[in-house]
Symmetry: C2
Amino acid sequence: MLSKKTRYALKALVVLGKNFGDAPMQISKIASEEHIPKKFLEQILLDLRNAGLLYSKKGSGGGYGLVKDPAKIFVVQVLRLTGGPIALLPCVSLNFYQKCDECDNELTCGVRDVFVEVRDATLKILTETSIADVIRRESNLLKDFTE
Amino acid sequence: MLSKKTRYALKALVVLGKNFGDAPMQISKIASEEHIPKKFLEQILLDLRNAGLLYSKKGSGGGYGLVKDPAKIFVVQVLRLTGGPIALLPCVSLNFYQKCDECDNELTCGVRDVFVEVRDATLKILTETSIADVIRRESNLLKDFTE
DNA sequence: ATAAAAGACTACTAAATCTATATACTTTAT
DNA sequence: ATAAAGTATATAGATTTAGTAGTCTTTTAT
């Protein structure tokens, strides 16, 4: 399961993606629009800024904005930045690898082998999907929904 | 991430799968072979038994065994029994669904849409993979490994 | 220059969950 | 009868997550 942090980060990036090119957007606006606790969101946006995804501007008229085109920010990055291993087993994680202490030899572990496959399938989707894609999906869904 | 409980359950089922048809196997044997805390494993095997996957036999010479052919027990079942939602978002889970409280309309949520796709890809693998398949993978890996 | 707006940073707490252990009980084989 | 082995429940400890609080810094508007 993704943490709230990760979900909030994704939601915020989608909002900022829709806003790309416009004036920076305030934390409180994002928070209230997306129903995210403001103080929590502050921390998350800071992380995303420190990771180089967002710029920030202080003072009146300040806020946050995307540094890059939303088409160049991928969901997989967001998960990784916000601490979420994508793999379902630590011994299968590319970026958060940890040895299974119960496993004698992970190279011959059948369970692991299955979850390598799961990881790859997941990763394929998440590395191919950008924030712009998410926004596009949203408007497609909206179209279907109102029809 | 899968819980230890789920991982231990899978490991245990693989061992019992290799043992299918033979005399029941004792908890302590499984525990020591697979480096699983015995008391914890007791609880897990009990759950799997209550779910109808295992039979148990008390007393001297007792132990646990698979009720069904390992080819008819699927990894997805094990995850569900041991409490692990497969989906990465609660609003996307088929068996452990929960509304996202931050979401206004989940039917038009782009993030959700992505993770529906991830869920389906994961689910495809896990519903198609049986304990017997895991055992088969293990022996294939072992072959590659010793070559 | 000063006040207000807005983000930056650090620390802390509360709650939930997970992992593991402990204890007492029941059944079965010999 | 006794020992082996599973059944059942409770509980403790550790870890993680989610969220809150408070203070500091920067920028803009007046």
